[in-house]
């Protein structure tokens, strides 16, 4: 059975980064790299209490899988990535990316590539909720340039 080099999923549940690290840890991997993105308590001078992530789920799952596969192939790494949707409080993890490779350069590069591609390709949107009761959808990247 061929080895699975990537794992990518969208979830409504809290992400456990250690599970992603486990997926990319192999005897031949001298390096693993973990990136987590979490809800920050401020944005452009406003105090944030939560963020709601919206998602066109069927396409998001396909795009996330493609992003993981492309990075794994480009950097000869194993990649595991999870993006959470729904309402997240400050500090909760919205995205986690684990990359494992023989050497550290590829692991760093693969996880960086995945988050940069997520920012411009993944059909996910963020609505910030502020402590003053207001809320706003954040500007994003158009899928067609």
């Amino acid at each position: 059975m061929p080895e699975l080099k990537t794992r990518a999923f969208v979830t409504d549940h809290p992400i456990r980064p250690e599970e992603l690290l486990y997926l990319v840890a192999k005897p031949g991997h001298g390096a693993t790299n973990l990136f987590t993105g979490a809800v920050r308590d401020h944005h452009e001078g406003r105090v944030v209490r939560a963020v709601t992530y919206d998602c066109f789920r069927p396409l998001a799952e396909k795009v996330l899988a493609a992003i993981a596969e492309e990075a794994a192939s480009k950097f000869k790494a194993h990649v595991a990535v999870a993006h959470r949707v729904g309402r997240l409080d400050v500090g909760e993890i919205s995205v986690a990316i684990a990359a494992g490779s023989a050497h550290r350069g590829e692991a760093f590069a693969a996880s960086r590539e995945v988050i940069e591609q997520i920012k411009v390709r993944l059909p996910v949107w963020k609505k910030e909720h502020y402590v003053d009761g207001d809320g706003a959808w954040l500007d994003g990247c158009a899928l067609h340039k």
Partner: protein
């Protein structure tokens, strides 16, 4: 024919609910369907600036035929 277009992100909060129904001829392109969505949005059409049409399988290019089990209007994305 009537086509249901799902709405996401800021489009969902525009007051039309999770989707809009638009009229489009069979074989209409993605840009034609988006034009119909803009017409349906009326005074709120500016919310569709930068939006793309997608199916459950892919983001559609403007001249692609709008075809898929699910079609959605996607504003500029903001994941991660």
């Amino acid at each position: 024919m009537k086509i249901t277009i799902e709405l996401y992100g800021r489009l969902r909060d525009a007051g039309f609910g999770p989707s809009v129904e638009v009229d489009a001829p069979e074989g209409a392109s993605a840009k034609e369907v988006l034009a119909a969505v803009r017409a349906a949005f009326g005074a709120k059409a500016s919310l569709l600036e930068g939006a793309a049409l997608a199916s459950e399988a892919s983001v559609l290019n403007p001249d692609d035929v709008a075809r898929g089990a699910r079609l959605a209007a996607l504003p500029p994305v903001c994941g991660g």
